[in-house]
């Protein structure tokens, strides 16, 4: 997982314009030319203030999503059915936490310390992918997460891996490689239920029904209402629009659900043969914003578990701290 396709930003247009005025126009032109040529930007390079701010926000929220995303699945490790599934789930959850580390490092190269990022997560200032504010109630939920949510994240991460910021691209390259295992093990576990007993099939169908709306929310609001992001596209921070990524996801994965004799809870969901685009009933976008702002079923639990980990681990970290050490940001 889990580059939530949607990256939360507080509307802050006025500040943005003032900041941009301070960018040296000559340097800005050279920077944009470099990106247009397909070159990568590295930590020591000059970059516009707004580029740095948006990338920090994007990579940081991606990192939080990996770490928080490990929680709903992590709770199923002890209850995973069978030895192989347990081993695979442990490996996957470890990967996700590792993805968090890789991404925190990439974000740190932009100048924000890891401690500051964790504080912003714990205080609720910085967000993470909305899907993890829903509970994994049964083992079938774990298979739906492993297959469909990792699949959605892959669509997003493969796109972002072609972005302009070197450290983020390198982290994503490693992440995408591991994601292929997540997707495959998720698909395998989901197929086992889909082709199993009537009770297993019913459990899976129930999980799909509950997760479909959060999955449709995953890539964020439709392009027609979503914030203007031309500059971010030009700077190769955002690589594809929300609707483009959602369409790509539906195109690749809806057939893989239908072929198993499963259904999705949207009677209108179909591919328009003329446009080649998928059509669907709009999910409830008011609910989406309500959940992002703390109103989901698990927001509180996720942050409290995360706080508990920080509180309980603190004595270990402090015992090993060496405040006199010189600390700098990662070099690449």
């Amino acid at each position: 997982m889990y580059g939530g396709g949607y990256i939360f930003d507080e509307p802050n247009r006025k500040q943005l314009r003032e900041e941009q005025l301070h960018d040296d126009p000559e340097k800005l032109a050279a920077f944009e030319e470099r990106i247009a040529k397909g070159e990568k930007i590295e930590p020591g390079d000059w970059m516009p203030v707004e580029y740095r701010r948006q990338l920090t926000r994007l990579i940081e929220q991606h990192a939080h999503s990996e770490v928080i995303g490990a929680l709903p699945e992590g709770t199923w490790i002890t209850r995973a059915p069978g030895f192989k599934r347990k081993l695979a789930l442990i490996a996957k959850v470890q990967d996700e936490v590792g993805h968090g580390q890789l991404l925190y490092n990439a974000a740190e190269t932009l100048g924000k310390s890891r401690e500051a990022m964790i504080n912003d997560l714990l205080s609720g200032k910085s967000k993470y992918s909305n899907v993890f504010n829903y509970p994994a109630m049964t083992w079938a939920d774990v298979t739906v997460i492993g297959f469909l949510i990792d699949a959605a994240a892959i669509v997003n991460q493969v796109a972002n891996a072609k972005g302009s910021y070197g450290p983020y691209c390198r982290a994503l390259e490693r992440i995408c490689y591991e994601e292929s295992f997540h997707l495959k093990q998720g698909h395998d576990a989901l197929i086992e239920l889909a082709t199993g007993t009537p009770v297993q099939k019913a459990m899976l169908q129930d999980a799909l029904n509950r997760w479909w709306q959060p999955i449709m929310h995953f890539f964020g609001p439709p392009d027609k209402v979503s914030q203007h992001s031309e500059k971010l596209m030009q700077w190769k921070v955002k690589m594809a629009s929300n609707d483009e990524m959602r369409n790509q996801f539906l195109d690749a994965y809806v057939p893989k659900i239908w072929e198993l004799g499963l259904t999705l809870p949207d009677a209108h969901l179909h591919k328009n043969p003329e446009t080649g685009r998928w059509e669907y009933t709009d999910p409830d976008w008011d609910l989406f914003f309500k959940v992002i702002n703390g109103g989901g079923p698990c927001n509180q639990e996720r942050l409290q578990v995360r706080k508990w980990a920080e509180t309980e681990g603190r004595w270990v970290r402090k015992a090993l701290m060496k405040p006199e050490e010189r600390k700098v940001m990662p070099v690449a």
Binding site: E115, R174, Q304, L320, K322, R326, K327, P330, V331
Partner: protein, 133 residues
Amino acid sequence: MSNQSYDPRVNRLKLGSTDDPIKVEEGENWNIYEVFHQEKRGAHHEHVGCVHAPDPQLALVFAKEQFGRRKKCVNLWVVRSADILAFDLEDEDMFANNMEKTYRDASGFKVMEKINKFKGAGKQPPAKDGKEK
């Protein structure tokens, strides 16, 4: 906590009994180490990323967990990020390869041309005075 968790272990933690804000201090996540990974004996160590650790020994432990858990790896190096000295990226132009530096490059020496010219000349019949050109 208002909602009961679906995870019995989370419920046992009795989370939320204290809702004090927690603040992680700067430096609490230790120092940053760059990690270099060697894929097989005889290969170079290559930079793969970094880890946070309180000292080099633990940096190696974390590096093994983070960068050596899947693909082949026979050795790792770690070094504090602060100890890396690098050129300023703004000075990139000093590496620009100028075209007059072919004397430093294998491609700047055309031996075959000369050999072929020599061999071609050798096939000419010898001059009448018996001297070769």
